[in-house]
Symmetry: C2
Subunit: 191 residues, 2 copies
């Protein structure tokens, strides 16, 4: 028999989310999370660099998905077509996780510190996507701006997606956001 119960990180995440939902993020201490997961405070910090990070483990996965989708777009695709392909992949990923995403989004919405962490994860995501575009021979600053724009569209669509009930609606929301953005930037009037 194993000395330790498996998946310590997973248990910490589950315990953390349950406690955050019940008492709020601030009112939950790391020691409480660790105890609820059958571990100690010190062990918590071996898995997560800080208390916030327990909610952001999935960001890495999202970033990989973006990067792979951009890299895997057809050879002749331009910057925005590659971004569009990534939006497809992302919309599919999230369709399976609507319920979880909502809970998590609610916890984050209630805490400025968590919003800060979310924004920096998004910024890192934009950097990674920009790198993926550069690897496709798209020069700067077009790569950086296209990446940032793709993330803006995704973020805006995500915000709306968690506020409504259809898990499959993300792609449509993305398309709306993208169309609006194009209209605004080129100076036409939006819908």
């Amino acid at each position: 028999m194993a000395r330790w119960k498996p998946d310590a990180a997973g248990r910490l995440i589950e315990a953390a989310i349950a406690l955050f939902e019940e008492h709020g993020y601030d009112a939950t201490t790391v020691a409480e999370i660790a105890t609820a997961a059958g571990l100690t405070k010190r062990t918590f910090f071996r898995y997560f660099t800080d208390k916030r990070e327990v909610l952001f483990r999935g960001s890495r996965e999202l970033q990989d998905l973006w990067v792979e989708a951009v890299a895997g777009a057809p050879a002749q695709a331009g910057a925005m077509e590659a971004i569009d392909a990534a939006l497809d992949a992302v919309a599919q990923l999230f369709a399976e996780r609507h319920a979880f995403a909502r809970v998590r989004a609610q916890i984050i919405a209630a805490n400025p510190e968590l919003q800060e962490r979310e924004l920096i994860k998004l910024a890192k995501l934009a950097d990674a996507v920009a790198d993926a575009l550069r690897a496709r021979e798209i020069p700067d600053p077009a790569a950086a701006l296209a990446a940032q724009t793709g993330i803006t569209v995704f973020h805006e669509a995500f915000r709306r997606w968690v506020q409504q009930d259809d898990p499959g609606a993300m792609r449509a929301l993305m398309n709306e956001s993208l169309a609006d953005l194009r209209a605004v930037v080129s100076g036409h009037h939006a819908t």
Copy 2:
């Protein structure tokens, strides 16, 4: 004679920046900053909600400038014209503060926590600008997207502006970023 030396907040900011430059942000404690300013740790936290905030007092001023410029744009101006007017005002403001901005940018660049704070300030700025656009009868989501786009252009231009020597170059950098963004979004190839 006054009981306390005036401008406690200002003294704290100066002391903080000097110490951050000398020893780095992490290695500087709040107690050190306070003592250097002739105050106590407790007093520091009466002026700044946390240690980071001592570097972001000016963000409020920047936000007001944006909002006023957007509000004050000609009545017939569309979303992007109003943004453009704001970019003018912002470029002027920063022209006088190139040296300070560089020091501050360097401190922030060295610290992830500070970058987080910077990003959330930028997000709040985008929200405030979006509100100002809505006040001009620009409907959502155009208002939100135009605001976010304006901030993206500003941020990109700012990044380049602190890396070069001409304090007056910001407006030109903004124009370049904006032109690049337009080209990317509408699908043409950039320079």
